[in-house]
């Protein structure tokens, strides 16, 4: 068995098969944010400032963080989100904890 086929087989673990892609994570985050903050899903764009598009303050941002942790079953220290204002970067940070 060559190295390439072994790596492919090793990647077929249950964890990896169940792992969402970053695009799926991004879509789930935007779905959840749109639903909770009652904003049309069509208005949300991956690279836009979600504080502005969702019209949320710091306490609501904390609420969003807790909802994302509960939804994805991850723990996200809030200092890792310092300066994060767009959905794509947020998805990237969450993906790194899945």
């Amino acid at each position: 068995m060559n190295r390439g086929s072994r790596n492919f087989i090793e990647s077929l673990t249950i964890e990896n098969l169940n792992m969402p892609t970053e695009q799926q994570t991004l879509d789930e985050i935007m779905d959840l944010a749109a639903q909770h903050f009652k904003v049309s899903r069509d208005k949300l764009q991956p690279d836009e400032d979600f504080f502005k598009t969702l019209d949320i303050d710091s306490l609501q941002a904390l609420d969003l963080l807790t909802r994302l942790e509960n939804h994805f079953h991850v723990e996200m220290p809030d200092y890792e989100l310092q300066g994060v204002t767009d959905f794509r970067t947020l998805a990237n940070r969450i993906q790194s904890r899945l």
Partner: protein, 267 residues
């Protein structure tokens, strides 16, 4: 006084359960107004304990249980006076709130904090005086004081140390990060995690269960298992006042009060 309706909080004694509700916008920040009403509550508590077996502390605000000390008031008042007077004022405030919290901590009835949302700083410390913490899954706990150049001043460190392993205390204190109810449950900080909006209902069910037990036994059990760390609490006040005169505190408070940052809670 079995019931009270204040600006920052209200309480009512009914069927053996005292419910203390916090309701000062924006998120129950504890300043002189709240402290004054908490002192009224502490004064009334002794008489109420003769008719009550449980106390539930909760917030009626959607934003959370309590965001901690009123930093805007602290900053404004400290700017209005000389440093020495400001420190004396801070010490007086801390000693007053410690008296209130020690009274609740030692009260001869079972105390339950029913928390949701933001439970930060002094709000976290208020929850920690209770015998049980019941949190809904949206609750979030944090000691952000180090970002102000301070330490928690309402008895948080000794009480957290009383309840948890030192590693968890260090994580919360030294990183200033927040964590959610699931993690708080995993480390043994809270006794129950319930669905969103269900903490008060679960606290009432727990209070109803407590009514079945002999009062004298329940009081003796609490006194045995939950000693108040008086010496460390006094040390905490001294250290807080010592740090309060450092330039980092004024800079930290100013940054918080004047910040337009949408994530000011982040250390």
């Amino acid at each position: 006084m079995n019931s009270f309706q204040g600006e920052a909080l209200s309480w009512e004694l009914s069927a053996g359960v005292i419910e203390l509700a916090l309701h000062r916008e924006r998120c129950n920040e504890i300043g002189s107004l709240t402290l004054g009403e908490l002192e009224r509550f502490a004064s009334a508590l002794d008489a109420m304990t003769r008719q009550a077996h449980a106390l539930i502390i909760h917030s009626t605000l959607p934003s959370g249980f309590c965001a901690g000390a009123d930093l805007r008031e602290l900053f404004q008042r400290s700017q209005e006076m000389e440093k020495a007077h400001a420190v004396a004022g801070v010490r007086d405030f801390l000693e007053r709130i410690h008296r209130v919290l020690n009274t609740i901590d030692a009260a001869p009835l079972t105390t339950i904090a029913a928390v949701h949302g933001v439970t930060f700083g002094g709000g976290f410390e208020l929850a920690l005086v209770c015998d049980l913490i019941i949190a809904d899954k949206m609750a979030r706990f944090c000691f952000p004081e180090l970002r102000l150049g301070l330490i928690p001043g309402f008895g948080g460190i000794p009480r957290l140390k009383r309840d948890l392993g030192n590693g968890v205390v260090r994580d919360l204190l030294l990183t200033g990060r927040s964590f959610n109810a699931t993690r708080a449950h995993a480390v043994g900080l809270i006794s129950q995690v319930v669905g969103e909006g269900e903490a008060l209902r679960a606290a009432r069910a727990t209070a109803a269960q407590l009514a079945k037990f002999d009062r004298k036994t329940a009081i003796a059990a609490k006194k045995f298992i939950k000693p108040i760390p008086h010496h460390e609490l006094k040390q905490e006040i001294d250290l807080f006042c010592q740090l309060f005169v450092e330039p980092a505190v004024e800079a930290g408070l100013r940054k918080f009060v004047e910040s337009t940052d949408l994530q000011p809670y982040l250390p």
